[in-house]
Symmetry: C2
């Protein structure tokens, strides 16, 4: 493999759909993977606006040499409506971030954000089975993390949201999908005391002067504190947690540890075992 | 530029649409051009079947980072219907082989097959102005060549077709578009005697045992004989013409000499002057 000149009529296509698109890193990651394995495939950026999603999906269906897609912000929820079938995690959250064409020409969507979170913990040597989790934020990220904690066999999952009804709705879904895990909804300003893992799944922390989603003085030093925020790479919450002796997991782990899972889902070699 | 890993979120997209697609050479040609000029762009194969063309075109419209397309067999006629506007040659033939997005988000189609034929002659040092042409075949290739001979100021264009009405229809279009060029329709088995250029635009010659489109014994040694067929690279017609001392132009010239014209049409640097 020695250049984009390697793209021929036989090259298989994959891509990521988002708006904006210039900042995405999936093309670099996937194309490096293809090059390493000598696969005749290329991974592309597809810049699609919200008003073009339905047309884009019909267009993708018509491209016989396009085998799979990654979906990123702000289209993860809309694409769940455009898929022919959803995996378990995608169905619970109502969002997807990967789509693949099946042998019988249907498109199956799945959401790997929560799996990436769980695999991130494992990659750092932290086994989530039997642990108690406080998830702050019942939106897309919180829902994804919560849903992945069911197959990961967490002992207890508490969902906190500034809008208590949102936390309750998510808890009902989680309880229905994984009755063996204890779930509980709480309102704003949750107390992190006593949880093994505290995860921020709100946007609080994207700006340096955002309020913290929890009071860090209530963290015990044995807690692991994770953040779903990727920019900044290390949020103020994580810095405060580190000061108090906690292990931390930055948001990038959630993304990086999805990669082998999505590679596998897309039917490509070199993915997760 | 050192690999498909160079494709990032900022890379602009171009592609070729056809069915089948594995054999196309445009990705190699365009990607080499992009690499040479250091353009952050990639040229892709898009395999679309006839029943998916309308969806594909709507999908292409939705991809905000896709700037242009090449259209190949069997979709050149169907895509003329899907473009928002046609160039002169495309309108006459009712077919396109290139499409570009304008600044105001419309898609303009043009056909470069005939221009490629004319530029092929010029590239070989043969100026078509003032010359007489016999074109055998009034289909897509013959129509394209005929339409390009008008701006090239041929003195006379004769169109032959096994179905005389097809030749007559094309002649009427050519006469309306370029009244300063003498056009004439003839039926099957045209006599090549007296023409400066004889061009086969029928499929006769794709198979080695096809009948010849003309009697080569009626060729004068000063004639130039061209073929629109690309496989085989040199048809039996061209071999027979060479035996009789004629200059020949294989079909590949028509394709190769379109490239700088299409590069220019797509608004890319390094195209035709």
């Amino acid at each position: 493999m020695s250049g984009p000149t390697d793209v021929s009529g036989e090259t298989r296509l994959y891509g990521i759909v988002g708006d904006p698109i210039a900042q995405v890193r999936s093309p670099a990651a996937f194309n490096a993977h293809f090059a390493k394995l000598g696969l005749d495939a290329v991974f592309l950026p597809f810049h699609v606006r919200a008003d073009g999603l339905a047309a884009a999906m019909e267009g993708f269906r018509s491209l016989r040499n396009l085998d799979g897609l990654v979906i990123t912000v702000p289209h993860k929820f809309a694409f769940a409506e455009l898929a022919d079938e959803l995996g378990d995690g995608a169905r619970l959250v109502g969002a997807i971030n990967a789509l693949r064409r099946t042998a019988d020409d249907r498109w199956i969507g799945e959401l790997f954000d929560g799996i990436g979170f769980v695999e991130g913990l494992r990659a750092g040597g932290y086994e989530p089975a039997g642990k108690s989790f406080l998830i702050i934020g019942a939106g897309g990220a919180g829902s994804a993390i919560g849903s992945a904690l069911l197959p990961a066999r967490a002992s207890r999952v508490t969902i906190a949201d500034a809008v208590p009804e949102r936390a309750e709705v998510l808890c009902r879904k989680l309880a229905a999908a994984g009755p063996e895990v204890a779930v509980e909804a709480v309102g704003p300003n949750p107390d992190p005391d006593g949880y093994d893992v505290v995860a921020n799944a709100t946007p609080l922390g994207m700006c340096e002067d955002d309020p913290l989603p929890i009071d860090p003085d209530r963290l015990s030093a044995r807690a692991l504190v994770a953040d779903a925020i990727m920019k900044p790479a290390v949020t103020r919450l994580l810095r405060e947690a580190e000061k108090r002796g906690c292990r931390v997991q930055p948001g990038q782990y959630m993304l990086d540890n999805q990669f082998p899972q999505i590679v596998k889902f897309l039917g490509l070699p070199g993915g997760a075992a």
